[in-house]
């Protein structure tokens, strides 16, 4: 025995006292642990689903109109520029031979007939090859790319 006993010091066992009184946590409780796991799962699911949902909302009103000029002529740059600045037009892309023009547009704002007006203004006779939902076309392009790769 030390011979001299210690005077009572309330600070000495403060940690233990706080654990007993529940002031200090004894580790992660089941509730907190399950909440954390639930949050991780929710975050994971939202990470997968939210970008798709946002993309869908952003593109659901978009259509692609694909045009070709007579005799497979190349599309003049000024016409492309003119279409590009029209209200409701998102993008205008020429394909690799400059012979096909793909116009992505918001069908609530603009219609292919309005593109035809512009083409006529420049004395161009264009044929509308296809009008398809933008997302559907993107999916088709992706599938075609995968097929080509395999």
């Amino acid at each position: 025995m030390k011979g001299v006993t210690m005077a009572y010091d309330p600070e000495k066992y403060r940690d233990k006292r706080e654990k007993v009184l529940g002031i200090q946590s004894r580790g992660i409780s089941f509730g907190i642990l399950s909440s954390l796991i639930a949050l991780v799962i929710l975050f994971g699911i939202s990470f997968i689903t939210v970008p798709g949902a946002v993309s869908y909302i952003k593109t659901k009103h978009l259509d692609d109109a694909i045009y070709k000029l007579e005799n497979d002529a190349a599309w003049p740059a000024n016409v492309v520029e003119q279409v590009n600045i029209m209200e409701g037009v998102k993008t205008v892309i020429k394909d690799k031979h400059d012979t096909r023009l793909v116009i992505t547009f918001d069908r609530r704002i603009v219609q292919p007939s309005m593109f035809t007006v512009v083409f006529k203004k420049y004395d161009l006779t264009a044929t509308l090859l296809n009008q398809v939902n933008h997302r559907q076309r993107q999916t088709t392009l992706k599938q075609e790319k995968e097929l080509e790769a395999s």
């Binding site: 025995m1 011979g3 005077a7 009572y8 066992y13 006292r17 654990k19 007993v20 580790g27």
Partner: protein
Amino acid sequence: MTKINHLIQVEDLGKDYQSGDTTVNAIQNMDFSIDDEEFVTIMGQSGSGKSTLLSILGGLNHPSSGKIFVDSLDLYSLSTEQRADFRSEYIGFIFHSFQLISYLTVLENVKLPMAVTGQKKKKKNSMALDVIDRMGLTSKKDRLPDQLSGGEQERVAIARAIVNKPPIILADEPTGNLDTHTAKDIMGLLKSLNQDGHTIIMVTHNPEMEAFSGRTINVKDGNLA
């Protein structure tokens, strides 16, 4: 409000049992205190109430009256769950019959009090092996209790009592089942634990063991003598 000046403060403690139509006053109006790092022996004849007192100090036995403060905690105003946490944090029990689990090995017995501490398995193992080593039982850690001598079983019981590093060790007749030589050996061990900072409260009726402690509280017929 009570002013707390000691690690353990017992105030006007009483414990009654009902035995048939008779009320037995096992403990009556006890007032005493125990300081941090003291080695106190509670002595008294069989039936004097000393083991009852020990169980009340350990938060195992609700008193009929009075209060016990341990580290400022009013022990019996705590909820049952808080009192269980109190025992886990503050108290190491050593029983005279060792109370080892016969089908568990030495290591498993020592790890038992850590089952609810929320520590990692590796940490528990290392803490248990440390105290087993301190008790000189490393080579016997995989043995079952009945493959050990009485002194060795007592050492396992001590290892189990100190594995959680409790500030207070309550020992109920720790040498009651041991021969004189082994008993002194065990008392030396308890004394060294006291030197390491554990407060030890030991119940015994053996005056020879009293010499190892610093102070004696004598109990007679439920009163301080």
